[in-house]
Symmetry: C2
Subunit: 397 residues, 2 copies
């Protein structure tokens, strides 16, 4: 029998005879355990809505960022239908869940796509987005902050450019989506101020509200969809989440997600300031220590307009996958590129987008900091990295 | 910092600087925390594969049964492409994640569909499935056991009929999928013996291996896909799960799922026997107690060839939603129909499929038993149900 609830405690005897619905209470059930689950779900939805300055009915809970992005992009395209081939626009450094979805729709002849290259600093020029808008454009999708190099995109300016186009062309059937997964801990999440119609969040990138052990949020995501956006469902199933994300809601993780997002918002400014200082200290040390300067390292992405917790460097001639493994031997968990694409021996598509001359053997090394990261971690990492580089230098340069 | 792992413990200092990948270790990361997560993931995959008599590379972890069914059905249809309109077959009592996906594909002109009606006992005739197979048929999807009325479908016989057709027509591009979500606790799960190419499981319908409190499995599902089945991805994203289900894997729930499925298999025969006795006792009492016989109740679905834990009855003239609410006041959690479709005031499509004369006001009442259910629960339920019916009789009949 599932964990008894307050309502159930009022009865001497309780019999849970709804195992076929779910072995734990299901928010779609009409019995009291279901009603109580529904209340908790709607409470969490209200919390998320307030943080985004949205309405509760504009919040769709999903299984994660990848699913949110697919529902947003494919849902807009499918709504237009395959008879009129819709056109959609994105950039060349989006997360694979956006970029590969665009390519998938193009390959299957379900959409035409434009992929706008970012500038050398890893930031897209809103004018270049504007230039790509055509009569059959129905969606622009630009990420809030990049997952590999941390660069923050000019979302408000792109939103303005789209609204300007809509006003002049008298069209209202073009929508703006942002993948805000990496920005959730540090950036402004007001959809009003950002001027977006659709926005993606993910639980796995938000640090829990409790201790590091209890606070981890499981696989859950959010898609904000402005009420007026005519998104159609890409899945067949039940009526959960207005039919846009059928399947029993992941209630325990949704509750944790809402609490974690609320806590992250509360400490956002303080934490962003603390991590910016740590990040800048890390980058300064990298470039001013005698040992490290010998390697002609470069910083990937704009050095100022980036997430407070992101450091991404290229060290020529030394394979970054090897660096990640050597660092992990010393207890330091870093990344060579998006974990979704790790281990294939090729330079990251994000790094290639901002540096045409990059070689596969150069690669890139990403350190992403979090709530538990201290100056001690950075100093230890700098010491270990110097040691590893000196050792590897003999073999690779 | 995430929970430290055994490997990490060998280092005096550990620094988790991979927050952007995930706040907890990500099986796609190449550092040691990622490698350890990957090992746990592959271990769980091996456990599930052995239970299904499948190979590990044939097991795809998803976010739940609804997603598994969508990936299977849409993935087969998309693989054929929109230029040749494929034909797919199912029954009229499938779970909404199958039936609504079929309708979605038909509405969007991505497939032609045949929906075969089941017989009055809630079981489909394999000959009627066979008769629907056409030259452009690419998929047959029939559920293993129904979620509302518990009837068990003749999966082996349907598999044989399809193989017979394939042999005679010299075709090998037609595939057989079963949604086995409701069967996982009680039925044979060997894909070899069942003769299926694709099979769906869901964590939320399997009781955990631990105590009721700790053992609940979260939102995770499985899709078995025979190696030779040319399924294409319906999501764009990373390479996780062979690209068929991109997005960071839900490792904590996958581990729980594998342990729960293993435990359910271990106790399957004993538990099926115990619940069959309870179920038959429940049904006998319903039909032989003096009070209850006055209501001309009917059992929905075959009385023998049904899940050991399922009782589904129609009580004419008394709204079943009201019965569910009245029962829940007495601490008994039952269901009027699939939770995914509850609360709309209409008779269930499953009940309508087996009883053309059913009225919306008749409805149906489902009791589904589980590991914690005892004879005491059944006796209490019978007593409470009698009391409620006597009260409601005055108003409704």
């Amino acid at each position: 029998m599932p964990k008894s609830t307050n309502r159930l405690k009022t009865n001497k005897h309780t019999s849970y005879l709804d195992y076929a619905s779910s072995v734990s209470p299901n928010p779609s059930s009409i019995h009291s355990a279901g009603v109580e689950a529904r209340e908790k779900l709607e409470n969490a939805r209200g919390v998320v809505a307030r943080i985004l300055s949205a309405r509760p009915q504009e919040i769709i809970f999903t299984s994660g960022g990848t699913e949110s992005n697919n529902i947003a992009i494919q849902g807009i395209v499918m709504g237009v239908g395959i008879s009129k081939l819709p056109h959609i626009i994105t950039t060349n450094i989006e997360h694979p869940s956006v970029l590969e979805t665009f390519k998938l729709l193009a390959e299957r002849n379900l959409a035409r796509i434009s992929i706008v290259p970012v500038e050398a600093n890893g930031i897209v020029d809103p004018k270049k987005i504007r230039k790509e808008i055509k009569k059959n454009t129905v969606l622009v999708s630009v990420m809030y902050a990049n997952n590999e190099i941390g660069t923050i995109q000019p979302i408000r300016e792109i939103g303005k450019a789209i609204r300007h186009y809509k006003k002049h062309s008298k069209r209202n059937d073009i929508f703006f989506h942002t993948d805000a997964v990496q920005g959730a801990n540090y950036l402004d999440l007001s959809v009003e101020r950002l001027g977006v119609d659709l926005l993606t969040l993910s639980g796995s990138k938000i640090e829990g509200a409790g201790s590091p052990k209890t606070g981890v949020v499981g696989r859950v995501g959010v898609l904000y969809k402005k009420k007026s956006v005519p998104l159609v469902n890409i899945f067949g199933g039940g009526n959960q989440e207005w039919g846009l994300r059928p399947g029993t809601e992941n209630l325990p993780e949704i509750i944790k997600f809402a609490a974690a997002l609320q806590y992250a918002q509360k400490i956002k400014e303080k934490e962003a300031k603390r991590l910016t200082q740590l990040r800048d200290y890390f980058m300064n040390q990298l470039f001013h220590s005698n040992i490290l300067t010998n390697f002609r390292m470069t910083i990937n992405g704009d050095s100022k307009n980036r997430l407070p917790n992101n450091i991404n460097i290229t060290i020529p001639h030394i394979p970054s996958d090897l660096l990640v493994i050597e660092l992990s031997v010393h207890g330091i968990m870093a990344s060579s590129k998006s974990a979704c694409k790790s281990g294939d021996g090729k330079a990251s598509y994000v790094i290639r987008a901002i540096n045409k001359n990059i070689k596969d053997t150069d690669g890139s090394l990403r350190f992403s900091l979090g709530r538990q990261t201290t100056k001690k971690d950075i100093d230890y990492t700098l010491k270990v990295l110097s040691k590893i580089l000196l050792k590897l230098k003999k073999w690779y340069t």
